[in-house]
Amino acid sequence: MQSHDVGIRDAVKTYGDFMAVAGITLDIKKGEFFTLLGPSGCGKTTLLRMIAGFNTIDKGTISFGDEVINDVPAHKRGIGMVFQNYAIFPHLSVFDNVAYGLKARRVPSRDIGPRVRNALEMVQIAELASRMPNELSGGQQQRVALARAFVIEPSVLLMDEPLSNLDAKLRVQMRTTIKKLQRRLGITTIYVTHDQEEALSISDRIAVMKDGLIMQVGEPTQIYKKPENAFVAGFIGVSNFLDCDITGQDPRQASLTVEGYTLYNIPLSRPYSGKGKIAARPEYLSLKDEGIKGRIELSTFLGDFIEYEILLESGQSIQLNEYTKDALAIKPDGLDVHVAMDAASIIIYGKDGEVLT
């Protein structure tokens, strides 16, 4: 089957008074690996299940290519789906699990064998074909589920937190398998996760969701480096949020005062003066001769880098990371320090949370 682009227009799903999906519009490109990322209860799984056809669409439309699929029942949508808890048919062997969708599509039996074996090879479990599901580990079961979903050459591949039941090491391994497979097959893939690291590493584009709405759509680097609002900045990675005063009638060279320390010549997207906030990631902060005054509360050596917890004079604590290769020595707890920040990498918000960078 030809892979499709997916268009979502003002999609709404309500449960009583609760709006699980509160009007979402998205365009997912053909062959793209697209991730819905957000905390639990943000509506990402609900939206995925609307695309799959397991939830009805209360308002708006969802279309595959040119065809609106609102009224197409789930089994006729031509999707492939991978579930969080594998959902392997317990009464069928690995081979029969993968062959299940092909048989439903009335693929000639002489073609089923080669296609199943090919799919099993792609997920590296060809040798398990005759096993029953209860003889498989979680990771192996999820590989079966993956093979079962893509062997039917779906127009869209949907994955609902497929790695969250696996242990950390296996998760990283499977992540790579899924990514390579998707690149190779070029199937439009919509992936749901609450794990930001997973989302950043696997996706072509990410939609960050909160309360049934989309907070930001973009490539992983955009989302990480230029979060469009405080929620995204806080949800993706670790960010230190600090209050600041902005003086910027001339947006090309505004000045910014944070905790008594002033930075000059900061470019803003528009003129702004008054209270604001900055978000700075721990790795964009550094210990210099001048900067915001503070004291090291706790230093933790983590191999690649050293993590410092620094108490500022205002009483707020922030996190700062220093790469081990750049550090001369681990600075002791209780040391008075100055925290400097790289003006180009911080994000500045106005008092209503609007981005000024």
Binding site: A52, V68, P90, H91, G101, L158
Partner: protein
């Protein structure tokens, strides 16, 4: 510009039709008969129009009030006796290393599964007027205690029904987290005190559920009080039968009134228990199951003795019946000497009853399995208004005793437009209606723990919801449902209380024939027939135990 599709419209899919068929069948075979019964109870042949005459008669005549008193007295005492026997047994079996635990368990299950009227009958064979033991005692000049009357009925009920209390309590006891009892120990309470202040309150809901099961079953049972009451100790279920028999050709008005009163009794007990359990529900997560105390030597023997004794006593009726079926008889009763005459007689004379029993039960089981799976699926996965109505209706037969269901079906289907009385169909319908709740309950329990995404996986792969139900859901449910069906099969072949109301000349069953043979003092053939049922029961039970591997509960 894309066309905006219209919003929700009703779906005429597979489940829509299943819901329709199920609801219609329930209305026709359950609601309609029962409402006819209630209507009937307000009519009398003496007066025109609606009247309370029957109820007035019931509450004014000693004959009826005595029966009500007997019924409640016997059911209460039997429940209490089962509590006294079943609960300590459950405690001993779950907490100590009893000898032959598995065998004792099988004996207990068999006691429950064997038909109570065969139990009653074999106690007559032992302690009846011409019983083996009565005659043995008379030979040495001692008057053996009588088995007839309330005492005998209670004894038979107790030995037959204590497994209910046992099974419920044993289940609860083995799911208590041992840390709970240890906590009691740390707080310095003595063993006995702990039993009453920690263990007992926690198992109380189960204890009560088991006891209520005993109460409802003994309230509903017909065969035992009929055989052992001898017309002197009357209970309501027997009166329903008597009233119906005396009103044959009439409108069964008094039988209907009595039926309504019986159902009211069992319904109120059930609701009382539900109310109590709803208020006291302990959610238990058993992380560490309680330890089994390893006793040694004479102590272990001492603990085993009472448990084994009760289990054997529960099984005694079955042994008695089978042995006596091979003893020669004449019109005075058993005269000794080995023979196969009894079997020859029943095979030549009562072969139809035997084939009917297996045939009706087999057909009923097929319907029970199919409807049971479909209904439990609707209850669990297709929740909504229709499903909750269905839930209520399907569980209703729990409180309807067999003889009452018999009256219901008769008053509903003995006139046009639909005449079913005297047919095999009405026998099968009564079996299906009564046994369906059990299959629905075990099916629902399975579906609640089965992950929905397995179905969704099938649908996402292009298989329609209907086909998914048959190829995936039904396939996965089948082992559990089938082992439950074996239990229903056992109760169907042993069914007496509704069969005796509904049978006609050529739809009679083994249990009906046993009843008639006993009434005719034809002990030999009765014993042979009872043996056939007993052996089928034992064989089915063993298949069940092997098949279910302890995963399907017998209650």
């Amino acid at each position: 510009m894309m066309k905006i599709p219209s919003l929700k419209k009703p779906r005429f899919d597979f489940w829509f039709f299943v819901k329709g068929i199920v609801i219609l069948s329930m209305l026709f075979f359950l609601v309609y008969p029962f409402s006819t019964l209630i209507t009937r109870s307000f009519f009398s042949k003496n007066t025109d129009g609606v009247t309370l005459e029957n109820y007035a008669t019931f509450f004014s005549k000693k004959y009826y009030l005595d029966a009500l008193k007997n019924t409640l007295y016997i059911s209460f005492l039997a429940s209490f006796a089962c509590l006294l026997v079943g609960a300590p047994m459950a405690y001993l079996m779950t907490r100590y290393n009893i000898f032959g635990k598995k065998i004792i368990y099988v004996c207990i299950i068999l006691a429950l599964m064997s038909p109570p009227f065969i139990g009653a009958y074999s106690w007559i064979l032992l302690f009846g007027r011409a019983g083996f033991i009565t005659r043995l005692f008379a030979g040495i000049g001692i008057k053996a205690p009588t088995i007839y009357g309330p005492g005998g009925i209670i004894l038979v009920f107790t030995l037959h029904l204590f497994p209910y209390v046992y099974l419920y309590v044993a289940g609860a006891l083995s799911s208590i987290d041992s840390s709970l009892e240890e906590a009691g120990e740390n707080l310095g309470s003595s063993k006995l005190r702990r039993l009453f202040t920690v263990t007992l309150p926690v198992v109380m809901p189960s204890l009560l559920a088991g006891t209520v099961m005993v109460f409802m079953t003994s309230l509903a049972d017909f065969g035992t009080p009929m055989l052992l009451g001898e017309g002197k100790t009357r209970v309501l279920s027997v009166l329903v039968y008597d009233a119906y028999m005396s009103e044959i050709g009439g409108n069964a008005n008094m039988a209907s009134t009595l039926s309504v009163i019986v159902v009211t009794c069992s319904l109120s007990i059930l609701l009382l228990q539900k109310y109590y359990v709803a208020r006291k529900n302990y959610a238990m997560t058993s992380l560490r199951p309680p330890k089994v105390v390893e006793l040694k030597g004479w102590k272990r023997f001492l603990v085993t003795l009472p448990v084994a004794l009760v289990a054997l006593l529960g099984l005694l009726p079955q042994l008695t019946v089978v042995i006596s079926s091979f003893i020669q008889t004449d019109f005075t009763g058993f005269i000794g000497g080995f023979t196969l005459d009894n079997y020859q007689k029943i095979l030549s004379r009562l072969a139809t009853n035997i084939t009917n029993t297996y045939y009706f039960s087999a057909v009923a089981i097929v319907f029970i399995v199919i409807f049971g799976m479909l209904i439990s699926y609707i209850l669990v996965r297709k929740r909504g208004k229709i499903a909750s109505i269905m839930d209520l209706l399907v569980m209703f037969p729990y409180v309807i005793p067999g003889s009452v269901l018999g009256v219901c079906l008769i008053v509903a289907f003995n006139r046009k437009p639909v005449v079913l009385t005297g047919t095999a169909a009405i026998m099968i319908i009564s079996y299906v209606v009564r046994k369906l709740p059990y299959t629905v309950r075990s099916g629902s329990a399975f579906l609640y723990q089965m992950d929905v995404s397995v179905e969704e996986a099938s649908i996402s792969l292009g298989v329609s919801p209907m086909k998914t139900f048959f190829t995936v859901v039904a396939r996965l449910m089948l082992p559990g449902v089938l082992s439950g069906a074996i239990l229903s099969w056992i109760t169907c072949i042993n069914e007496l209380s509704s069969s005796i109301m509904l049978y006609s000349g050529n739809t009679s069953t083994i249990s009906v024939a046993i009843y008639q043979e006993v009434m005719r003092m034809s002990d030999g053939t009765a014993a042979a027939l009872a043996s056939i049922l007993t052996l089928t029961t034992v064989a089915s039970m063993l298949i069940f135990l092997r098949f279910s591997k302890g995963k399907t509960s017998v209650i």
